[in-house]
Amino acid sequence: MSASPQSHRLPSGGLIDRTQSLSFTFDGETYEGYEGDTLASALLANGVDLVGRSFKYHRPRGLLSAGSEEPNGLVRLGEGNRARPNLRATEIPLFDGLVARSQNAWPKLSFDLGALAGLAARYLKAGFYYKTFLWPAGAWPFYEKLIRRAAGLGQPPCGPDPAQHEHHHQTCELLVIGAGRAGLVAALEAAEQGRRLILCDERAELGGSLAWTRDPVDGLEPIAWWDQAVEKLEQNPKVTLLANTTAFSCQNLPLVLLEERRPGGNHRLWIVRADAVVLAGGAIERPLVFPGNDRPGIMLASAVRFYIRHYGVKPGQRAVIVTNNDSAYEALEDLKSADIQVAGLIDMRPAEAAPFRPDGVPVFANYEIAGTRGRKRLKGLTLRYGVDGSRVDLDCDLLLMSGGWTPNLQLYAQAGGRLMMEPQIGAHLPHDATTPLAVVGAAAGKGVSPTAAMPLAKGPMAFMDFQNDVTTDDLDLAMAEGYGDIEHLKRYTTTGMGTDQGKTSNINALSFVAARQGRSAEAVGHTTFRPPFTPVSLGAVAGPARGRDLAPTRRTPFHKANEKAGAVFVTAGDWLYPRHYPHNGEDMAAAIAREVRNTRRQVGVVDMSSLGKIDVQGPDAPTFLERVYCNNLANLAIGRVRYGLMLRADGILFDDGTVARLGETHFLLTTTTARAGEVWQHLERLHQCHWPDLDIRLTSVTDAWAALAIAGPRARDLLTALGPDFPVDKESFPMASVREGLLDGLPIRLYRVSFSGELGYEIHTPAGYAEDLWEAVDVAGAPLGLMPYGLEALDVMRLEKGHISVGTEIDGRTTPADLGLGKLVSRKKDFLGRSLFQRPYLQGKGRLQLVGLQPVDGQTVLPIGAMITAHTWQGTTQVSLGYLTASLYSPSLEHPIALALLKDGHDRLGDEVWAVSPLANQSVRAAVVSPHFFDPGGERLNG
């Protein structure tokens, strides 16, 4: 492709470091560039002008711009796991060994079969897909596959992301976005006042348009001024300078989000809280719209200047300039400096508008471009004279176009700033003084050349949105079909919906539509500017929230002890919790059955530390608890514990737990693990917002205490062996007791409660002593056959007892009465939830009620997740009578059991129903029984 290395590099000039030569490949060819190049400038330096294919018609495309507005030059960067699609060549700083590929072309960029779509362009206009692929009915999935393959830009990346991204919170007094002349001036001023500031720019070097403009600043050459400005800022410790850093979201001021692209593909997301924000994002040059305006070699005038001046690149041999404003005239000097021949300057305005008459350059005033030539590179133009329509042909390989300038107000609009169309420049400016952030420089329209209104172009290949292949014809068609609202136009034609979000196309489309509809630009309005300003990596957005650190993990105080005991852990909510403790070679089911049997026959120990624990003190504590629990607590004596049920304000069961009275005005509550946080908030809220006059104090002590439950016929033996400093015999420490004391010298709170239905105790000790307690229990328990049991065994045992659990029976829809706990609900007092609990539907017939189920054959385990029906599953729809909440083979009873919510279940004890699983194609006849399968009389518990 390139005749010789860097064939299009100017012999001198530019801000690149010619001593540092870098090697890179594009589509497998090896090239050289210099430190300071972007991939785009290096490609141009090597004469590579075809960089991509367009979205729909696969038209050959070259670079249009030199910045983040680039619609065409999208490449895949990197290889293997590191490859990332759709990156803009204009934004990729060149490095040694860089590997890039073109996209959306098959079999290759220079010969792309997809371009056949261009031949069918007349059928593929806006919205064509809504009108076809309807026949034959049912064939759409087939068409869809083809369409999907044709659509999309780059290949998706594959494999995990080897890079590491982080989030960085930062506060500052001032954030300046954009480090061109205006941004540097703002930063210098603030720095002089001693303000703590951040100055960021999306480009690899600060300076912005100082790289290519010629106007002196403070009497200095732009580059010289720039050097000393940057140096001054660098030396100020209160200034943070961030290159390669894009401000991408301003929609939640004073919060601004920046993405810093660091070496190695690592990104840092800056979450900046700024007392003030200055937007100095400059202005973006607009393309002109004319037939064939998309050929490689047609570029924005400022981009050509950028490539020449900043990168020392010669993007063509023979150039034409076309403009509707003065700014492009400045390019003449740059073209001359680069020794590029100028075949003509087309000024679309009347002759008298020209700022000056350029020497030796044919000027075509009041001309427009009627067509272009050249497939993979521009070869020439046809001009049409505005007065008589006469035509002129020009040969050229480079066209510099300037359709005026669009102040870069995306972030201003995101922040809620209103835009106002300024006819002078044919683009939006900030609307009024009360703006959400300060706008300076070209972004505020400063120094932006006035523009003549753009004539309406016509023709099939007059592109409005390069990336999405939207032409003026498409917009016309959409308007004719009634999609004339600017929002409908956008969605029907997809204009402005590409990865550039219409940076170069929105204003042109808007002006075109306004002219066509004969309405003002104000009346047409504009589509909504949304973050991000330019696409931001999802990895950076997620930051460190990956893998292990996706969410917090809580560990119980027994974590290390559990590890030593061979626990298999499972996460339950935030907690990492022992699930079971397999012995050698045991599978989970066997381990669970063993743990259950051992507990029921000897003694087991289980880590209960994750239960929520709330300390309640204060003279009004009894009143408070009477209100928040629906069962009676008034007569709870000191040293006693009671089961407690809490309702939501709407009468639905919220949580269950225990209430222990440690003193006259001192209580300790436990909550379920699952609802601990919610219960805590609920209680705090009732106290602080609704009952502030109750004198109570709530403290969450969950993390301060470790809790172990020991359960089984030998639990008391174990407890005694541990040497408590108070009597624990049946009479002195009966069921539902609580007291503080010492156990093996450790301070404890001892409860006599049980979830498993066995004789059991809960031992609470300050969390830092957990391992000492575990060791003591382990040693004392060994002769008694003690084994630890996990979450699963606990669940089996609670099920055998018919105890309810959050998530299965306490599901946010059931009431205590539904679950057979209606008797606990106090009729004597008022409590939260009582009133709405009395609503007719919560009290009436037809409720789903908790029952036990047992297979009639005594042996078939009822299918997991079965529905309850009147008939067997025959493959046809049926009314459901309820469903199973849990089902298993009971190791203690040695037959299958299940819990279920059955319509009017409490009246159906003794009935038979079907437990059906259409998934398993299984129906099992089951008898409705009491949910309390094991030891219903509670003899073991009270033993």
Partner: protein
């Protein structure tokens, strides 16, 4: 007899590994055996009385005071944490027991509920500041300042001792999880 074991440290193993290749300007240690009790009261009028009872040593919200090895950290209007390196919880309360009960101030021993990390060195503040949405920068979070804030859903209490030393009170069950975040940040910072 009650054993008087100090609570075990939780992150010492991790800290040991980290310290072997600690970056410049950052030292992390776990503070052992600190007694932490939380006093609670109700109502604004009690606040003043308590301050008087404490001899003017009740800090304002967001501040701390120190008095011969004992400190008071106040991150909320009607609670304060009393901390001590030497005294047990019982002794720490005993001193004031009478005035506290007279005022109806209740107390809860939370010594075992927290893991306290001390970060010192010139990078200490920047690391924490960049992790927290709350401004912990030197100019705004002065020595003595206290803030309870949340970092990636971990609740932490930060106490600024001086410009290059901060203590972080982590809820015990979250401590290792927070440590992982801290390590990640330090490695990339």
């Amino acid at each position: 007899m009650a054993k008087t074991l100090p609570p075990r440290t939780l992150l010492q193993d991790e800290i040991d590994v980290f310290s072997r290749q600690a970056p410049e300007g950052l030292v992390i240690a776990e503070v052992r055996g600190r007694t932490i009790i939380k006093l609670d009261w109700q109502g604004q009028d009690k606040t003043e009385k308590l301050d008087k009872a404490m001899g003017g040593l009740l800090p304002t919200v967001g501040q701390s005071t120190a008095d011969s090895g004992k400190g008071a950290l106040r991150y909320a209007p009607f609670s304060v944490l009393l901390v001590s390196a030497e005294l047990t919880a019982r002794d720490l309360v005993a001193e004031r027991q009478k005035s506290l009960s007279d005022l109806g101030v209740t107390w809860v021993d939370l010594s075992h509920g927290y893991v306290v990390l001390r970060l010192s060195g010139e990078r200490a503040r920047e690391v924490l500041d960049s992790m927290a949405s709350t401004d912990l920068s030197a100019g705004r979070f002065n020595p003595g300042a206290v803030a309870r804030t949340s970092i990636r859903k971990h609740q932490v209490l930060v106490h600024s001792l001086n410009s290059s030393c901060l203590e972080v009170y982590l809820e015990r069950s979250y401590a290792l999880s927070f440590w992982h975040l801290l390590e990640h940040k330090i490695a990339l910072g």
